[in-house]
Symmetry: D2
Subunit: 345 residues, 4 copies
């Protein structure tokens, strides 16, 4: 089988760079086009990008000439790490032109006919793209902080019902892109505010855990309360959760349900799927971003300190790699799932 | 009036050092004795202590010979920053010998006849020392993380009633003493566990906000759920709170009540009292430990981001200086309050 | 004596903010005008500036309306923290208009008729302003990294002669202004390059230690080799030095000469002058930026680890507060010296 | 060929852990025994070690029972990461018992009959083990800071002669082991002192670049002056160098010589050998520890900013992974070289 040609929109940015790293040696996708703003267009990629990854720019990428967002593209799949200031309009245009736009940007996530998918949880939501008016389609993944919350909630919601969620996030600087957070603001500091973040965390999980109902998704009805902070950590979002369940469950039952969680990426052994979507640790001082984000290639959600909550029912600490499972890796897994399910060929 | 002689127990430790810094030029107290473990005893202080403060060792302190914990002391007040491994027994012994032991250690905090006091909140609890079997007395202040939570809750409890509290703390490394947290464990990392801390945060506020009932304190009945983490911040504990109130209140009413909070330290203008025990900021990205811990000499609790909580009622971010208001400064204010109220002369 | 009215050029920037902090309650100077780019002009200062100091914006400053660089100013002294992209032209224009421009910017430092002064070292160089074609004058202080090197070299050059200098700097992020260094570039990292910095460190000390020769300065002839790096430190530049001396000197002689160094700011007891321009520490692991930058109000150069160098003659570690003694404080001390010497009245 | 059984001495420490990580799937060596202090002996490894690596403890290692240093061992090669307080005596004892002790500890490095080898530079020095009185032998690698200096000097010494070296190091915290540097001492700080380090950097390069002369090594005669500092970086030592050459060379000639450097590990394609022992970067702000330490598996020395030095001849910034090429990886490469050269079979 020949590889499917893909383009990366926003290729010079932080998420774009991670797409490039994660797509190296991918068995099904081949980076055909790199697309960025007019400022970068026309330059070789290595010159246009301020590369911040811990491997060098791959050789076959370094010399590739960056295309401009307003050019016509030839790739089947467009992975979008576009800035939200331009993503909305551009992604629509490319979907109209017949591309599958697999987007990490927030703009279309809450559109009624756009699926917001984590393939372990709601791959049936892909089906809603048939309601889109485009020749192609737009598919989105969640915000990086939402990702790990949705992963932890999904099996609990199915087993016990989730009735309310309290979350405090301690988010890594890489989530803010480049140049992103000035060092003067974060070195030895905590910033208790990230613009727009709490709103996403408070609304996206309900769509992901919602039910496909013909031409729309019925959102799950539980409230989420989020307090989002930035901490001086390079990669990895750490989050504390307290959860009210519909049906009482012991700590051991909760851990059992989390540990046994599997989805279609595991069943179909998708290339980027972690063997275990959720890892439950018994070490009392884990998970930690500096130690645990690369478990299973950065694609797993690590859960620790599961215990009773005196106010709601269960509390825990969760962690995930914000630019892998929480961004570029999530989009790639969506694309793999769509190929496996026959939406893309 | 001549100054009251005071001793510092655990004088070489992190809290002991902060006692020394804060008692410089104190109008009522004079450091007479420095007390530490046998390993330090007999040495000049400057040699015995691994000094980590940002002013040099005060000249009159540097040459003072450190006494051993088992020596007889002559000071009226003993400020204790002793390690909990020795504080329990030593503090009891000194109280029996007639000293007022004003302790920052956890050992006696939950003793039935020992007051756990924040003088803005419960100065009437000092009265319970009359039930103690000692010639002197033991008085305690709260854990550093509890302090700012209790401060924020006190006016709300009085005005609206507090029915439940969810707290996540992001605590500074200075709270762990010296050598404390190894740099390998915390640089660019979050550690989601601090031994014993959550239990303190979940039980101390109820005693502080409790009611004196003859020979004991009736603890306030609301549950607190705490998730305590360590972050790479030097000084200053940042905490997210969600609070369920007994009576509905708007965000503006909550801010008004917090802003208007005053107690006996403000009325009596105690030397170490902040003019405003609680500062409410309207800046959306504050409070921040690197910017706000020194407001009012490190003695205030800074509250920001007061907003509605979709799960409980009100949420906010709070901050305070953990080794000043959260430790040594709290004990000194307790001593000042006891002098002003006539317990010590 | 009524206070001399002063303006701050570049008032919203990092150095401008430090000028405001350091001029609070100054006995001779009074901030009359705040001047910034057209983008800030017309706004109250508190709104125009992204304030990053650890005290709040002073009340009398917060509401002051920011003036534009192209307005006519009324202050006698203009402290300039202007960005180098605009400082050159603007400072010249203000000097022509009759103001004393005391500048921290690099643009005019190496001009033949502009003094580059550290008043402990070369206050006689002020005299060269009489050769300037302006109604007013331009006076500069050194680059922040140069400052501490020049301070350490000055007494050694006088006592023994300096023949060569090797320097490696480890510079704080505050030196890069705001937003300055992205956190992604410096958290847990060292950046071995700071644009333009090495050139300044390699040429400014020779002018400062040079000799006034009529209408110009004869630069001191020794070579300096600099390697400048950025480290994740908030404030305080740490620098390693190796020095070749003209006349052999023992470690003790070198320390003695450093300790005894005094200049006209000390003799005339200028308001911002440190009692000891150089502090020599005997602690083997000092100086350290997190511990020692605030000695003497941030105005001293701290020298430690003075020892023999197997390649040149003497090596040592030096430290200073880069935005106080290395920038705003240096300019203020220059202004105080010029008032004391009768240049400004 | 069956694999050679190896033991790790000091297996629970930081260097010991890195040995375990680097020996996973090694083609020639197989970890047979894990050896540590009596406190750890008798326990399964996973329980005895405070594991700090970014992969989990390998499964075949986790359950292995740790042996005590005073037990008889059966492995042919003993990789030693022992603390210097015990390494001296223990390594001698094991060499007497017939083992090849490949040590990263400092104790025997300067012994007359012990080779201090970097196989790219002086593999002929292995020969001196024939002068050792042991049934087995002791072989050492350099200090972690020395490693990268010696690598950069070796080709220059051969091509042009090295006459003097000035070095300032900015060393990572991982070099201090665990618990190592307290976070209170290094967060946002620089510590300009590392006990014993400067002496090693000033004496080891001359032995490595020395000449085998029958029963001893004639040390190279140039002086090295070192200033060693600790910075808040996790892994990777950054070092500035200034070098005086015997014969003038242009910057381009120096870069050419560095780039072309190869040794016997490259010729014999040893398993752990980097393809290029030295990488020369032309990016003006590189090398950086957070970006470049993993080039070539952490086994290369990265050189940047090669330029003329106004005091000596050439200056540059160098970088390497201190616990890989600078410690465990160096010892493993030494063992591979000895196998390839027939010393061990």
């Amino acid at each position: 089988m020949s590889k499917i040609p893909v383009a990366i929109l926003g290729a010079t940015g932080t998420v774009g760079q991670k797409f490039i790293v994660l797509l190296q040696n991918h068995p099904h996708f081949e980076i055909r086009e790199l697309v960025a703003s007019p400022r970068s267009a026309g330059k070789p990629y290595a010159e246009a990008a301020s590369w911040k990854q811990d491997i060098p720019v791959p050789e076959d990428i370094a010399g590739k000439i960056v295309k401009s967002l307003d050019e016509t593209l030839e790739s089947t799949i467009l992975f979008s790490g576009l800035d939200s200031s331009v993503a909305g309009e551009a992604e629509t245009r490319f979907a109209e032109a017949g591309h599958f736009v697999i987007s990490n940007s927030k703009n279309h996530r809450m559109d009624k006919d756009v699926p917001l998918v984590i393939p372990e949880i709601n791959p049936d939501h892909f089906e809603i793209i048939r309601k889109q008016p485009y020749k192609g389609a737009i598919i989105t993944n969640s915000n990086c902080s939402t990702m790990f919350i949705a992963m932890a909630l999904a099996p609990l919601h199915k087993a016990f019902g989730v009735e309310a969620v309290q979350a405090t996030t301690m988010q890594a600087i890489s989530g803010a892109g480049y140049p992103g957070v000035p060092s003067i603001d974060i070195l030895g500091n905590v910033v208790p505010f990230i613009g727009g973040e709490e709103d996403k965390v408070e609304t996206e999980p309900q769509k992901i855990l919602g039910t496909l109902a013909g031409d729309h998704i019925d959102h799950a009805p539980f409230p989420v309360s989020a307090q989002c902070t930035r901490v001086p950590v390079f990669d990895g979002h750490t989050e504390t959760l307290s959860i009210k369940l519909g049906k009482k469950a012991s700590v051991d039952e909760v851990k059992e349900v989390l540990r046994n969680f599997r989805g279609m990426p595991q069943e179909k052994k998708l290339h980027s799927a972690p063997e275990f979507p959720i890892l439950v640790t018994e070490q009392e001082d884990r998970p930690q971003p500096a130690r645990d984000i690369w478990l299973q290639g950065g694609m797993s959600t690590v859960v620790g300190r599961v215990r009773e909550c005196p106010v709601l029912d269960i509390k825990m600490t969760i962690l995930g790699h914000n630019t892998v499972r929480g961004a570029a890796g999530a989009a790639i897994l969506n694309a793999e799932a769509m190929v496996a399910l026959g939406y893309i060929s």
